[in-house]
């Protein structure tokens, strides 16, 4: 296979830049692997390493700073057959830290070449997440008070299945890159090199000193034993194939006629654990069985197991425009939390409005017709009170009928839950 380097666009790095070595080594690896340009996508980051994609005749994706791994993930998940190689400097590594950690955790089949030259070359040699504390860089004293990170160590801790550390000047870099690309999972090579344009103007760093430093680092030379596991994409596809497709939205035939015409507003005021939202939905479904339109708005705090729970239902034989509630025809006041949440509504209730109120709940003054229900005495537990109240409404043919409620229950529930719910409705009817 021929070189994939683009003869029209030779590298334009500063003389002596280590990126040149990596460009050549990457090309050699691709040649050795017999890969054609259209089988490979180079995803490049920002900074001097961001020019990488332009030197190669492959597919190319160049984007925002630190995000290269995210594009590569989207590409690889959509086209698993592609060889996806990401180049990134120590700058991209730092700004995209969260993406690095997550990519390690996922173990998706990408290869990341970190072109690590210990500073931000393009913007003037400022410190990066790998700058030694003793270095003199373009960020004044700031690098002296931050600890540089060991890329491989961080990646290993995050679950990377393959990490390697290399000097850009090693003869076997092409083989190291090839080995990383061939690894079925996420592979990372931390490639140390010199930036003569910025870094070595004020700091001493040579191929020899890089080798010396690397030799003192903990080893990172390929597969990380404790992190070996299946590749993310293949696991994803395997799990996906086992998922059941959701059933299409259920339709409800209109088969009954509703006891009342016009717009009916119902407010259910309760607390967490009283199945208020379920009752609101049942009321709407009951409306649908009579061909009514329905809207349901729920209000509950972010902490779902505590506090108020309010459902606002509108039923109508015409299209429903406004979904807010002005003057409910029925209010189910089942818990103090809910009543407190909607205090202001009680003063506005018409005298034709009906409030079913649990015995222990205190109501603000209201003109509405209030019926007190002693759920405790009736042996109805808090989670059943909202449904029981719907049964009370149905028993009076108020807004919904018993057959509408029963049909709604049959639409929503199955098996034992349905039996219990129907039994409860039956009990209320008596």
């Amino acid at each position: 296979m021929d070189s994939l380097l683009n003869p029209q666009r030779p590298p334009v790095f500063c003389p002596g830049c280590a990126h040149d070595q990596v460009t050549k080594a990457l090309d050699k690896a691709l040649i050795n692997m017999n890969l054609a340009g259209n089988q490979v996508v180079l995803v490049s980051d920002i900074g001097c390493s961001g020019l990488f994609d332009t030197f190669f005749n492959t597919h190319a994706f160049h984007g925002l700073h630190g995000r290269a791994l995210t594009y590569a993930t989207g590409l690889k998940m959509t086209r698993p057959e592609l060889t996806v190689i990401v180049t990134m400097g120590d700058g991209g590594l730092g700004i995209g830290g969260a993406h690095l950690l997550s990519t390690c955790r996922r173990n998706i089949d990408l290869t990341l070449l970190v072109l690590n030259n210990f500073n931000y070359g393009m913007t003037g040699g400022q410190c990066s997440s790998t700058t030694p504390q003793e270095a003199t860089v373009g960020s004044g004293f700031l690098n002296q008070i931050e600890k540089p990170m060991d890329v491989c160590k961080v990646a290993q801790a995050a679950g990377a299945a393959y990490t390697a550390r290399s000097s850009a000047y090693r003869k076997n870099l092409p083989e190291a890159i090839e080995q990383a690309i061939r690894f079925n999972g996420f592979s990372l090579i931390d490639i140390w090199g010199v930036c003569p344009g910025r870094y070595t103007k004020r700091n001493k760093l040579t191929p020899a000193s890089i080798e010396a430093q690397i030799s003192e680092m903990p080893p990172a030379d390929g597969p990380v034993e404790e992190n070996q596991r299946p590749e993310y994409g293949s696991s994803y596809r395997e799990k996906s194939a086992a998922q059941k497709a959701p059933s299409p939205p259920k339709t409800i035939e209109a088969r009954f006629s509703a006891p009342e015409t016009g717009r009916q507003e119902v407010m259910i005021l309760g607390s967490a654990g009283q199945r208020i939202v379920t009752a609101g939905e049942l009321l709407c479904l009951a409306g649908l069985t009579a061909g009514l339109r329905a809207t349901l708005k729920n209000d509950y705090p972010i902490t779902v197991l505590r506090g108020h729970s309010v459902s606002e239902v509108v039923l109508s034989d015409e299209e429903i425009d406004f979904t807010g509630i002005d003057s409910p025809k029925v209010v189910l006041a089942l818990a103090q939390e809910g009543v407190n949440r909607k205090k202001s509504i009680f003063g506005t209730l018409a005298d034709s409005a009906r409030v079913f109120k649990a015995r222990e709940v205190d109501l603000p003054a209201t003109a509405a017709d209030v019926v007190e229900v002693d759920f405790k005495a009736l042996g109805i537990r808090p989670p059943d009170r909202a449904l029981a109240s719907l049964a009370l409404m149905a028993g009076e043919n108020r807004v919904l009928s018993v057959e509408m409620l029963k049909k709604a229950l049959k639409t929503r529930f199955k098996g034992e839950v349905l039996e219990k719910a129907l039994a409860l409705v039956q009990k209320e009817m008596r």
């Binding site: 666009r9 340009g37 259209n38 996508v41 995803v43 994609d53 332009t54 005749n57 597919h59 190319a60 994706f61 160049h62 984007g63 925002l64 995000r67 791994l69 995210t70 594009y71 590569a72 993930t73 989207g74 590409l75 998940m77 959509t78 086209r79 057959e81 592609l82 969260a98 993406h99 950690l101 997550s102 994803y236 996906s240 194939a241 998922q243 497709a245 959701p246 939205p249 259920k250 339709t251 409800i252 035939e253 209109a254 939905e281 709407c284 479904l285 649908l288 339109r293 329905a294 809207t295 349901l296 708005k297 509950y300 972010i302 429903i320 425009d321 406004f322 979904t323 807010g324 002005d326």
Partner: protein, 373 residues
């Protein structure tokens, strides 16, 4: 008659499914999370992909990669997420990457209130990109719109190779509603135009008479280049001012010059109306209640509900405001789209009804303003 009962977010997912969405990535955020839930339920069994990013930036990055690999792609978030999407919105605009972005707006500013609605992102969606190039924003009023406008959003993203926003609102997205799916006017599904076979592929070249480059996915036989940097037809960096300006003009015009082709709206027209109420989103529903009532009482009031917000459908607004003495704008914010209407109707009174307290604007409030002009 057979009705379904679903919330706006489920309806958006349903629309995405109809449109042929194959990739979704997002980060959970109230009130948009149930879109992610629904996509996670339906994409994997169909061989599609649904991912949860480590953050909103990653989610958008996944989407851009997937879309460039050829998948119809969607993401969903709320205001705080749109803030984090910004750099990638700019990328999608600059580099012509088709993508549907659903913004289920919640009460801001900032993290604001997770479970309260607002339409506070309307100018943010338009201008929240670096470079200020135009975007398409559609605004649903109900669950039915959530289905149909999502299909339109995909079609527009594919046609114009750009990000398209669905500007929903917690009050639509998390409100469940009856809907007759059978009767929905589902638009015909459009796919991005691919480059003709047998020719050399120039990633950003446009054919004669078109403003939109033909697409090939990364991974195609012919090589594809994508870049967020200022580029020419070949997808390489350019510093040539005339190429740069030509690209700015083309990206601008491909959207602004086409708005008449996707000006979606509803109305309650009235002969010789003196007053026109203009609104969008969930507020359209209170507006409809009031205007229908006033019209029944013989009042000369008309209603225009905009479902295409950006680019501003100026031709429509000019036409509908002709002969009208007073224009009233109602929106769930402190006055954002108002500025667009004032700009177009600069020769007459434009009154404003707005709140940002987490409650719907009530019919009573609108009626009061319409009746006491």
């Amino acid at each position: 008659m057979a009705l379904c009962f679903m919330e706006g977010n489920e309806a958006v997912a349903w629309g995405a499914k109809i449109a042929g969405c194959r990739f979704f990535a997002g980060y959970p955020i109230t009130p948009a999370t149930t879109i992610y839930n629904a996509m996670l339920a339906f994409l994997p069994p169909e061989g599609g992909v649904c991912l949860q990013g480590e953050d909103e930036i990653a989610s958008m990055g996944f989407c851009l990669g997937a879309s460039m690999a050829g998948a119809k792609t969607m993401t969903a978030t709320s205001g705080p997420g749109i803030s984090l999407y910004s750099e990638h919105i700019s990328f999608a605009i600059a580099s012509e990457i088709p993508l549907v972005i659903v913004d289920v707006q919640r009460l801001g500013p900032s993290t604001g209130s997770a479970t309260r609605g607002a339409d506070g992102d309307v100018q943010f969606l338009r201008w929240g990109n670096s470079g200020g190039q135009p975007v398409i924003v559609l605004a649903p009023t109900d669950v039915a719109d959530c289905v149909t406008l999502t299909v339109h959003a995909f079609n527009l993203a594919e046609t114009y190779r750009c990000p398209v926003f669905v500007a929903a609102n917690k009050e639509i997205s998390m409100t469940k509603e009856s809907i007759d799916l059978e009767k929905l006017p589902i638009p015909k599904v459009v796919n991005r135009k691919t480059a003709p076979e047998g020719e050399a592929y120039i990633p950003f070249a446009v054919s004669e008479g078109s403003r939109v480059p033909d697409f090939l996915p990364i991974g195609a036989d012919r090589l594809v280049r994508q870049t967020s940097s200022t580029h020419g037809e070949d997808g390489y960096l350019t510093v040539d001012p005339s190429t740069i300006q030509r690209f700015q003009d083309r990206r601008q015009e491909k959207i602004t010059a086409a708005v008449d082709d996707f000006t979606f709206f509803d109305e309650l027209p009235a002969q010789n109306a003196d007053i026109l109420l203009i609104t969008y989103g969930v507020t359209a529903r209170a507006a409809r209640t009031v205007v229908a009532k006033l019209q029944a009482a013989g009042e000369p009031v008309a209603l225009l509900v905009l479902k295409t917000l950006w680019p501003v459908p100026e031709a429509l607004i000019r036409q509908k405001t002709q002969g009208v003495k007073r224009v009233v704008v109602a929106e769930m914010n402190m006055g954002q789209y108002l500025h667009e209407i004032q700009r177009i109707c600069c020769d007459r009174t434009v009154d404003f009804i707005g709140t940002m307290d987490g409650n719907l604007i009530s019919p009573a409030r609108i009626e009061e303003v319409l009746s006491n002009g």
